[in-house]
């Protein structure tokens, strides 16, 4: 389906050895009311040491994609496609098969650090355990390494902090401990799923700094999943925009931020109030809501909210078309029309929201 444009995209960044290759990944959740198509054919390649951002709003499938990569979805989920780590297929592996890779080669950081830390053990012990699980070293070595790792992620007085329990630390501190655990085994890929969403901005800055430090120390590639375009702008090389379970735009951050070729991306940028701009010009929201992933009609899922929509958009779902830049692809039949267009030219500065929401959609959200 998107093979043609993918090859085009990835030739530059991944001549040969991508650390992580996701190809045509789909995830479906059967429910009583029907099948929820959470992820619909996502493909990307991650080059060694590269930072890739996945951005999307709630329900766009950005988290499910990475959960599928890590083999963390419940058994009821139907997963197809292919996920290869250094050429080895991960999908279809047993739980033990996944565990070999997880934590050692691919590490994951979740939004809520409390759920990933065990409340009854000290943080030092938890870091040491992560090291001992995959390495044949003495406890002493592991403990020393734990202190070292805490220092790397910017925790002051690491010698004392190793003996703290998670509840004795603040949210930002705990998230940095999780990052320390993630880098404990020198992974090749770190997947961070909304790592700073629950945190205050000044703490977010600290945690993002810790994440950069972890990358610098391990040389790992990063998949950064977030809804915050600002975080992506500062911490990713490439960006994937997701909408209704699909990648709708892919490119370097500069390409996507300055020359978006998918109306959704453009609309998203136009919806953002800007800290760096004075003036009180109106924001341009995208009216309506994302579609229900249960009964998706044919055609482009963004059609009902899209000011560019034509009859063809309702009939055929667009592939990821190449644009004028080699690595920049966008899933829009009319991507050429977005050349040089600002959000204000395409979207109306409306304040109404009179559309109706499909009940099925709401059930999946709750």
């Amino acid at each position: 389906m998107t093979a043609e444009s993918n090859i085009q995209l990835d030739r530059r960044s991944a001549d040969g050895d991508a650390v992580l290759e996701v190809e045509n990944l789909t995830v479906e959740f059967p429910t009583e009311d029907g099948v929820v198509q959470a992820v619909r054919g996502v493909s990307y390649r991650l080059a060694p040491g590269e930072a890739m951002g996945i951005v999307g709003e709630s329900g766009s499938g950005k988290s499910v994609t990475s959960m599928a990569v890590m083999g963390l979805l419940p058994k009821t989920a139907k997963i197809t496609g292919s996920v290869r780590f250094r050429g080895e297929e991960l999908l279809g592996r047993s739980e033990n098969g996944f565990a070999e890779i997880r934590g050692k080669k691919i590490a994951m950081i979740f939004q809520d650090p409390l759920t990933s830390l065990n409340p009854v053990y000290t943080v030092g012990r938890q870091i040491a355990e992560a090291i001992l699980a995959h390495n044949d070293v003495s406890k002493k070595v592991a403990n020393d390494r734990a202190v070292e790792l805490l220092a790397t992620v910017g925790i002051p007085f690491p010698e004392q902090r190793v003996n703290n329990y998670p509840h004795e630390m603040s949210g930002g501190m705990r998230q940095r401990v999780v990052i320390a655990i993630a880098m404990a085994n020198d992974p090749d890929v770190i997947i961070a799923d909304e790592p700073t969403t629950a945190l205050d901005v000044t703490v977010q800055a600290q945690v993002l700094e810790a994440l950069e430090a972890a990358r610098a120390a391990t040389g790992a590639a990063l998949v950064l999943i977030t809804h915050d375009l600002g975080v992506i702008a500062g911490h990713a090389d490439r960006i994937c925009v997701m909408y209704a379970g699909k990648l709708v735009e892919k490119g370097t951050v500069d390409e996507v931020f300055y020359e978006p070729r998918m109306p959704y991306t453009l609309g998203l940028l136009g919806s953002l109030p800007r800290l760096d701009e004075a003036g009180r010009e109106r924001l341009t929201p995208i009216v309506g809501s994302p579609p229900s992933l249960m009964h998706l009609p044919p055609g482009c899922p963004f059609t009902p909210r899209c000011p560019l929509a034509q009859p063809i958009c309702e009939e055929r779902e667009p592939d990821l078309y190449g644009t004028d830049q080699p690595g920049h692809v966008a899933a829009c039949h009319f991507h050429e029309r977005l050349v040089g267009v600002t959000p204000g030219q395409l979207f109306r500065p409306t304040s109404a929201d009179t559309g109706s929401v499909a009940p099925a959609n709401l059930e999946t959200q709750q």
Binding site: E57, S58, V201, T202, G230, P273, A278, L283, D353, T354
Partner: protein, 352 residues
Amino acid sequence: MTAPNVAEPAVSTDRQPVLAVHDLVKHFPVRSRGLVRRRVGDVHAVCGLSFDLFENETLGLVGESGCGKTTTGRLLLNLIPATSGEVVYGGRNLVELSPGQMRPLRRDLQIVFQDPFASLDPRMTVNEIVAEPLRIHGLLGSGKQARDKVRELLRMVGLNPEHGNRYPHEFSGGQRQRIGIARALALRPKALVLDEPVSALDVSIQAGVINLLDDLQHELGLSYLFISHDLSVVRHIADRVAVMYLGKIVELADKEELFTRAAHPYTQALISAIPLPDPRKERSRQRITLTGDVPSPVSPPSGCRFRTRCPKFADVLSEDERQKCVNEEPALIDRGQGHASACHYAEAMKLV
């Protein structure tokens, strides 16, 4: 405690405040566990706030979690009793009023909550929710007249009045927030406390609600106290901005002043910590990173409350200068930056 000097911003001297807050204090008691729950201390949630909210203006109240901004919003509406201080509306001090005396004044002062899921009764239809304030104050009328009022309110907040029969769970987050706004507007208030009204919404939806709030202010001449942790939203919507840290206002200025000449080190750190959705700017930015965490509001630091995390205190000041931060609480006054800030060593800085 003496009231700090509040410098009146230049633009608003000729205007009358709708709400005037003087030296507002709220302490929450901390009790010991067990059968006899002794009072073992106080959470100093709000400590001596003073500010004015003028007619037809938006005052942004920003700060991080635990700084007391939400408590301030509740105190203004007398939803929780203040420990001391004054909130003056229409010549009356709301803090001293009983719930019964407060009731008629609630028509003028309303609130929109953060969580569009929790702030609407799940068992009421949208029509019932929006009609509730009118019903409480006996203003609904009956039959067609009542129905028209409700429909008009729904239309005003950009919802389809045909959907009035539905329940909140049948709407998206943004639409639910609009229902909350319609409910708050039903009594035609003069001032609205907006408590993080768009924080729970996706960006593409948030923009519509911000536009709506903008429109409503123009149409109805409302005053907003816009409480938020998101400085980008505040820069877009506010006229003046008050920055809070640990229960105190550390800087209060006109919006442009604050964002172009931030004087307090905390405001500077806050502005510089916010990631910009602009890769080039983001790569070339100067970032002030704070160390450590917010101290416990049960025993806030002496003198300047920000000194434990202040980069200036740690890296720039001499030992003598530091003593002043430890011993003397900085007043919220203009120290030559053109607006009020609560730092002994305030220096204006442009960060975006």
